[in-house]
């Protein structure tokens, strides 16, 4: 059992850390978040172009790099550090979902090839009332999806739908007729959402029929949970770093406020929460490919633990920064809004805790 990253994994981490510091700094994030459509387009072009990041865990036969979800997790954490608005998380969630068991490989292959080339995919995995029917050219979908992350930036949607054969995943081209994508204004400006209306929208069934297909739908949600957990660790790490730096610089009563024990002890508790989250996310990132039988429990557990750590750190960060932390010009609010929005979109921490309890057979 070895938790340490391999040399290649460390290289990936340091390459991405350097890239993000250079090309996705605070100003870049702020500009993308506050102006335009909430997409750091030049950053995304480089990530999908020269860095081929969307193909990281896609099989080389579809044009990917063939890494595991551990490498994806490393990338999520590094991008999470700056909250740079790029649709990486949803795209890799879709890609990893399509690479698993219970997926109709013939249908998934062309989609994986496009994602490896930089196509943006997003997911709609929450409960919905979308219905399926047979149209002239094949299956069509009707219904409305709310809170589709990066929906306005995506080319492709992977949506979970209950059809006559049970839970299934369908692929929808968002540029097709019968699809209307409406960008929404969001409290967290670093991860935009869209409402997607499907009116006889052409779709492709991506899961195979039977238990394996149903398991693939469940797995998709679990992959999303783990992805959010890994990203949250990066975000929380940067947020705590920023806070500790400030406490060392800000002088009141003639001394740096970080020398006051009342503040020190709170930072220590935040560090404990962060370390716990880091270990949990690391374990979960390995479970995705290394021990899939554990995923159903570990995924919501990781999302809960990492999401709570991020929210605790982000909210304490504002308080520890004092007045400056309450301003629009300071970055603290981005972290806070990301943390709470992510929790609410998951159904809330109580829901996640309940899910773990049920899946573990405790309640």
């Amino acid at each position: 059992m070895e938790f340490r990253l391999s040399d290649e994994q460390r290289d990936l981490q340091s390459t991405l850390r350097a890239f993000v510091e250079r090309h996705a700094s605070g100003e870049v994030v702020r500009a993308a978040a506050e102006h335009g459509d909430g997409l750091a387009e030049p950053v995304w072009e480089r990530l999908t172009g020269e860095m081929e990041l969307t193909g990281l865990a896609i099989d080389p036969i579809h044009g990917g790099t063939g890494a595991s979800f551990v490498e994806v997790a490393i990338a999520l954490e590094e991008l999470g550090r700056t909250l740079v608005p790029v649709p990486f998380l949803v795209t890799v969630t879709a890609a990893h979902t399509l690479s698993g068991e219970g997926i109709d490989a013939d249908q998934a292959a062309p989609l994986l090839e496009r994602i490896a080339e930089g196509c943006v995919a997003t997911v709609g995995l929450g409960e919905n009332e979308v219905t399926t029917a047979v149209g002239a050219g094949g299956v069509i979908l009707d219904g409305q999806l709310e809170h589709v992350a990066d929906g306005a930036h995506a080319d492709l949607l992977v949506v979970a739908v209950d059809d006559q054969q049970g839970p299934a995943l369908y692929g929808v081209e968002l540029s097709a007729e019968g699809v209307e994508v409406q960008a929404r204004a969001t409290m967290d400006q670093t991860r935009r959402q869209a409402t997607v209306r499907l009116t006889g929208a052409p779709a492709t069934r991506l899961t195979s029929v039977g238990d394996a297909g149903a398991a693939a739908v469940a797995r998709a949600g679990d992959i999303l949970s783990v992805a959010l957990a890994c990203e949250a660790v990066g975000t929380a790490t940067r947020c705590l770093e920023m806070t500790v730096e400030y406490l060392g610089e800000r002088v009141q009563f003639g001394r740096p406020i970080g020398s006051f024990q009342a503040l020190k002890h709170r930072c220590a508790d935040l560090f404990v929460a962060l370390e716990s989250a880091r270990s949990t996310a690391a374990y979960a990132s390995w479970v995705v490919d290394g021990a899939p039988e554990e995923l159903a429990i570990v995924a919501p557990l990781a999302q809960l633990v990492c999401g709570e750590a991020l929210l605790q750190i982000a909210s304490e960060s504002i308080q520890l920064h004092g007045g400056i932390g309450f301003t629009w010009e300071h970055d603290a609010h981005y972290f806070f809004k990301r943390a709470k929005s992510t929790e609410l979109l998951s159904g809330g921490n109580r829901h996640l805790r309940r899910l773990v309890g049920q899946r573990a057979g405790i309640i």
Partner: protein
């Protein structure tokens, strides 16, 4: 990163499990579940015999190098042994201090003479140890120790008092931090002495705790003697050695402890099912949260296994101490009013009552929560000293 378990480790696990099944039975069968925190007074004599059986089979000092009599086992094998031991409900070990604190200190800092004199006794389970650090005026502030020792006729003569010495009542030896340079202050002028407990100059007085039982004692030194050569490191270098003793790898012990925690939690969950309190959404949520946090502690311990950085040790201590204390509270909340009545006079406790009361110590001993937070803030996060 690869978290899979190797075939060798699986085979080692099977070997340990088999040995425990074959040996923790017969005369030793009654030992299952005895000892442990809050119940260290149980079955001391038989547990001391069991320690010798473990030593004879080579299960003590697994991680020590072969050339000093250890087994040179990997960290993961040490974890496996400890986990299997806990899973078999093996009794609380009477020589935890000797095996995990004294033996590695001797290997790292001790002279060859001291290693030859003391390691075999630990590895055979024949000589038990206790730790002489804390004093009435030196708790969190260990450098304030006032116990002093001076050389007389080739022996150290020790005067002073230690407190919170666990297992002192059954220990054969104690490692004592004493001031050997008159007039020295703080962490200078201290020495790390090895002192026999069975002698006229030592008086042991058990401390009756919140649980009504005693695993800690006060130890009084009044011209207690030990040979001049029974000092680890150089005289005056005791602080460095004392810190070394506290700085050894702790992940193995942490992971072993979690097996016991899991059993305690399962008992609380079973209690909640039995009396229906699990239908109370708040109790259910606390049970699930405890289960989740125990998992998280395992991931944390596995990720930091083998590291000796202060971050890992302090995070681990804060996590488990707070977790265990909350479990104690949850355990009796589940029991409700019935938890207020003792099973027997004069002050016999149920398991959940013992956990509830004993865990108030968890957040105090071995570096209180407050000290751990200071360490994290100053040494790990680099916040300025006040």
């Amino acid at each position: 990163m690869d978290l899979s378990v190797s075939a060798e480790d699986q085979a080692f696990r099977a070997e340990v499990r088999e040995w425990l099944a074959q040996n923790l039975r017969g005369e030793f069968e009654p030992l299952r579940g005895t000892g442990g925190s809050g119940r260290e007074h149980e079955a001391i004599e038989l547990r001391t015999e069991w320690e010798k059986a473990l030593g004879a089979a080579g299960w003590i000092g697994l991680g020590l190098p072969r050339n000093v009599g250890g087994r040179g086992a990997t960290l993961m094998q040490q974890v496996i042994f400890a986990e299997e031991y806990a899973r078999a409900d093996g009794p609380g070990r009477v020589n935890h201090v000797g095996e995990y604190l004294m033996a590695p200190t001797l290997v790292e800092f001790g002279s060859e003479e001291l290693q030859q004199r003391f390691l075999p006794g630990i590895l055979k389970g024949e000589e038990l140890w206790c730790q002489g650090y804390s004093e009435p005026g030196a708790g969190s502030d260990l450098a304030a120790v006032r116990t002093r020792a001076s050389l007389k006729d080739g022996h150290w003569s020790i005067e002073g008092q230690k407190v919170w010495t666990s297992m002192a009542f059954c220990a054969d030896w104690c490692f004592v931090i004493a001031r050997t340079e008159p007039g020295s202050e703080r962490h200078r002028g201290l020495s790390y002495l090895l002192v026999a407990m069975e002698q006229e100059g030592i008086d042991i007085r058990p401390i009756v705790q919140i649980t009504g039982s005693s695993e800690f004692s006060e130890v009084f030194f009044d011209d207690a003697r030990t040979p001049e050569s029974y000092v680890v490191g150089e005289p005056g270098d005791g602080w460095r050695i004392a810190m070394g003793t506290l700085g050894f790898e702790r992940g193995v012990a942490t992971l072993a402890q979690q097996v016991g925690f899991q059993r305690e939690l399962e008992q609380v969950i079973a209690d909640a099912r039995e009396n229906g309190t699990i239908d109370d959404p708040q109790i259910a949520e606390r049970l699930v949260q405890a289960w989740i946090e125990l998992r998280v502690m395992r991931y944390q311990a596995l990720r930091t296994l083998g590291t000796i950085e202060p971050a890992a040790a302090s995070v681990s201590k804060l996590l488990w101490a707070n977790w265990h204390r909350r479990l104690g509270e949850l355990g009796i909340d589940v029991r409700g009013a019935s938890a207020t009545v003792l099973p027997a006079e004069p002050y016999e406790l149920t398991r959940e009552q013992a956990v509830f009361l004993y865990t108030r110590a968890d957040t105090i001993y071995a570096g209180s929560n407050e000290i751990q937070r200071n360490i994290l803030a100053e040494r790990v996060l680099g916040l300025p000293r006040g």
